[in-house]
Amino acid sequence: MNKENSEYLILRNKNTYEVIIGLEVHAQVTSNSKLFSSSSTKFGAEPNTQVSLVDAAFPGMLPVINEFCVKQAIKTGIGLKAHINKRSVFDRKNYFYADLPQGYQISQFKYPIVGEGIVILDMPNGQKEVGIERLHLEQDAGKSIHDIDPQNTLVDLNRSGVALMEIVSKPDLRSPDEVNVYIKKLRSIMRYLGTCDGNMQEGSLRADVNVSVRIKGSDKLGTRCEIKNVNSIKFMQMAIHYEANRQVDLIEDGKNINQETRLFDTKKNETRSMRSKEDAHDYRYFPDPDLLPLEVTDDFIKKIKSDIPELPDEKKKRFIEKFKLSPYEATILVSDIETSKYFEDVIKESDVKLATNWITGELFAVLNDQNLEISKSPVSSKNLSKLINLIKDGTISGKIAKTVFEIMMDGDIDPQKIVEKKGLKQESDPKAIEALIKKVISDNPEKVKEYKSGKDKLFGFFVGQVMKASDGKANPQLVNDILKKKL
């Protein structure tokens, strides 16, 4: 693997291969009830307690569509700058599996609700546009549990019928890094919109990864393989890496690549062919006769559009223009809706520059360390704002602030209270500092002589002594200024 101009390429025997990646992301729609039935979609319920007669496909049961799920799909389409299809059709995708009670999945084949769009990725070497092919609504299947009973598979239908949005990208991705940024961007957009919570541990977001390789410079697409149901970004990246190399090896050996479906084995870190799946996957799509075509009006779409909050791309632009943040800083602060909310809360009452540094610096360090989401931050935006204001108005120094911050973490304590209780107020009275300096100078006559004879580095020593004498509370700027004069 070679990173030439940060490109992801595979070198083998004088041949340079590039990797073509397309993703089919399955995002669980945030809604109270399922797509075609009124069962709950809550995560973590006891098995088969959120299953209706419709979900379990009892004889005579019929689907009735959830309006909110339709709105969520359209909303997401708008967030992807995509074309909304006013007329779309639900098709049956026919196949047999234990967790598919109907023996078919209601999906959309020929006429999806959302058409082409784009997602903009912020890569280290600039922006990249990734095309979206389409977005459609479909039912999720239930869960097959293979490892409780050695003889049998147990089936839980709680998830059966939950609304999914399948977002199909064009084969525009070229590296595991791009995949990482793409998934995060997609997730971020949906979290901003409130259409999917993007919680990969709970299975709200999964992807099928399509990988093919070709000699760099060729414009023909190679045979692709689909790696199904990868549920973390890390695994997606590992799967791509393994699969791309597997395909290159095959080509270099003069062998053909079979178009097939594969699974990523998370224990062995390799992809393998799904032998259990039927070789002939003929889904026999046809329009579901229990459902009429879905038609939405311009008004319907307009209303949804008016409900859209400021999205990451626009927010980033605004942060750069209005607050003069760097693109790098802006990207970080808009990357997740909770982060941007936190930031915007803090800067309501305090300095933008300080807020940026403290959030992207101290706060993120703590969150990473304790593996926390910003929504679970031990320090609230309100209190961080207060802390920043204490720095800005000179009450405490930046260094002291770090100490205060650490104390704040233990129960989100008001920084004002900490400063008062611990007497950490910065000493900014020039007379008091002068007094301290006088004492330090008189206590260290040899060092004064040495400094005056040219050892400039000793200045730091004096600053240190003054700070020590003041328990760190002396205003560093003043100390510097006055010390310069006195020495």
């Binding site: 007669l53 379990a56 496909a57 009892f58 004889p59 005579g60 049961m61 019929l62 689907p63 009735v64 569509i65 049956r92 026919n94 047999f96 234990a98 009670p101 109907q102 023996g103 078919y104 598979t153 089936v155 003929d282 026999r284 799509y285 046809f286 006769p289 229990d290 459902l291 009429l292």
Partner: protein
């Protein structure tokens, strides 16, 4: 007062309301007669003791404001009934007891009716003679060893045999109208979307409709009122203003224009059917209606279209019968083996044939040539009717190309069995309402039916025309009770 079981629904209701008879007496009469009629094999499940209990409860506190007060009724075993076994005539649902009720049957119970039992039918409603049922053939009360028609064969047999005063069936390609024709009774298939499909075991979703089967047109109109309702639980249900079919029933059809489609004059049409049709035309003229020749050019393609669309939808609708959640399961060494054995043993031959046809016409490479093509021809067929209805108010045709045939006569030749539906199938494809009334007898003395097809949502019109013709025809079904020793 005549024997209770020979009375019409309207007569029974009148007598109950006037307290001339009690619900218990009526129920007991039908139960007794049914007990003696096992030879007909019309019932799959009898619920007689419960029915009698319910009739007592009704009599203790009668509500005469209901439309079917204390009336006992048996219904086709395709309607899911809460707590009562529902089999769809199949082994694969042989032990299935729903915990829910179909909308149509619930409507009936809400109006005071009492369930007598579930009636035999062709397996999953696939058949025209009730010879594909897992629970055995049904006898036509008209004569021994005659088929009662299908798929609502148990319904038509029980009705004609006076084991139930009225009943409901389902019609996908003629399954109400054809058995009605074969047994000398009345059967109506309503406009698609007028009766809810919720809780009815699905065969072909875009064609299935529940409908009333009765001894006369008045009874038919009364039952239609009860079952035709808008249901949010069925996305194909239509919210339109429904008439009070029975109170608005009239025999005045003066000036109505009745179309006679020349394409229904099929090659080799039996002379008797021709004659029946001509007689029907005369009756209609007698009633003051006008006869107009029309053309439905794509009629000849209807049967082929139906035998692509219906099996295709069925192959998908029947995929849920996999032994996992309910019904029959065969032991398999792994999941696929279990599926294959369950479905192979659980389904009968006709059902398997149709699933295979359906799977094939939807399969990769064939979808365009078959299914898509059929849906296009379906559009042409519907257009034919739309055009015709610019000139006429209703269409008159024979219901079936023959009277009831012998049991076993057509079971070896699926295509000849399919030809039974030739006059009824176009109606389902176009989603229109149609009623079959007894028009006369053939040389053997077996009943033949006349079909009146209407515009969408225009059930009142066809009921009126049928009502007027019924009066003129004055048909009397000669039931000899041959099966009762």
């Amino acid at each position: 007062m005549s024997d209770i079981t020979s009375q019409t629904l309207s007569e029974i209701i009148k007598n109950i309301k006037e307290k001339k008879i009690s619900s218990q007496e009526v129920t007991k009469a039908f139960v007794d007669r049914s007990e003696k009629s096992k030879l007909l094999n019309a019932f799959i499940t009898e619920d007689f003791s419960t029915a009698l209990e319910k009739s007592k409860i009704f009599d203790d506190k009668p509500n005469f404001d209901l439309k079917l007060p204390g009336v006992p009724m048996a219904i086709k075993d395709l309607f899911c009934t809460n707590g009562i076994k529902t089999t769809a005539g199949s082994k694969i649902l042989n032990n299935f007891i729903p915990t829910y009720e179909s909308t149509v049957s619930q409507n009936i119970w809400n109006e005071g009716a009492i369930l007598l039992g579930k009636l035999n039918c062709d397996e999953f409603a696939m058949g025209s003679s009730n010879e594909t049922s897992f629970f055995g053939n049904v006898q036509n009360p008209i004569n021994q060893n005659l088929v009662p028609g299908g798929s609502s064969g148990g319904s038509s047999s029980a009705l004609a045999g006076n084991l139930t005063p009225v009943t409901i069936g389902t019609d996908t390609g003629g399954s109400i109208r054809q058995p009605a024709s074969f047994t000398g009774t009345v059967g109506l298939k309503p406009t698609y979307g007028s009766c809810s499909r919720y809780g009815i075991v699905a065969f072909a979703s875009s064609l299935d409709q529940a409908g009333p089967m009765s001894k006369d047109v008045r009874d038919c109109s009364l039952l239609l009122e009860v079952i035709s309702t808008y249901d949010r639980k069925d996305s194909t249900s239509i919210d339109f203003k429904r008439n009070n079919y029975s109170s608005e029933l009239t025999n005045n059809i003066k000036g109505k224009k009745i179309g006679i489609p020349n394409e229904y004059r099929i090659d080799g049409m039996p002379k008797e059917i021709e004659e029946l049709w001509s007689k029907g035309i005369e009756y209609v003229k007698d009633c003051g209606a006008e006869i107009i020749d029309i053309s439905l050019p794509h009629t000849n393609y209807a049967l082929a279209t139906y035998y692509i669309v219906a099996p295709a939808e069925a192959s998908s609708n029947l995929a849920r019968y996999d032994g996992v959640k309910y019904g029959f399961r065969s032991i398999g060494k792994n999941l696929i083996d279990m599926y294959e054995k369950t479905r192979s043993e659980g389904f009968g031959d006709e059902v398997k044939r149709r699933i295979m046809i359906g799977t094939y016409v939807l399969s990769s490479g064939y979808y365009d040539a078959y299914y898509l093509k059929a849906q296009k021809v379906r559009k042409l067929i519907k257009n034919d009717f739309d055009e015709a209805y610019k000139k006429v108010d209703a269409i008159l045709t024979p219901s079936t190309p023959s009277s009831a045939f012998k049991i076993g006569e057509k079971t070896n030749d699926p295509v000849s069995m399919y030809l039974n539906d030739i006059f009824t199938v176009p109606v389902n494809l176009a989603g229109l309402p149609a009623i079959s009334i007894p028009g006369g007898l053939d040389a053997k003395g077996y009943p033949l039916g006349l079909q009146i097809i209407g515009k969408a949502f225009d059930e009142q019109n066809i009921l009126n025309i049928a009502f007027a013709m019924e009066e003129k025809i004055n048909f009397k079904n000669k039931i000899t009770d041959w099966w009762i020793k």
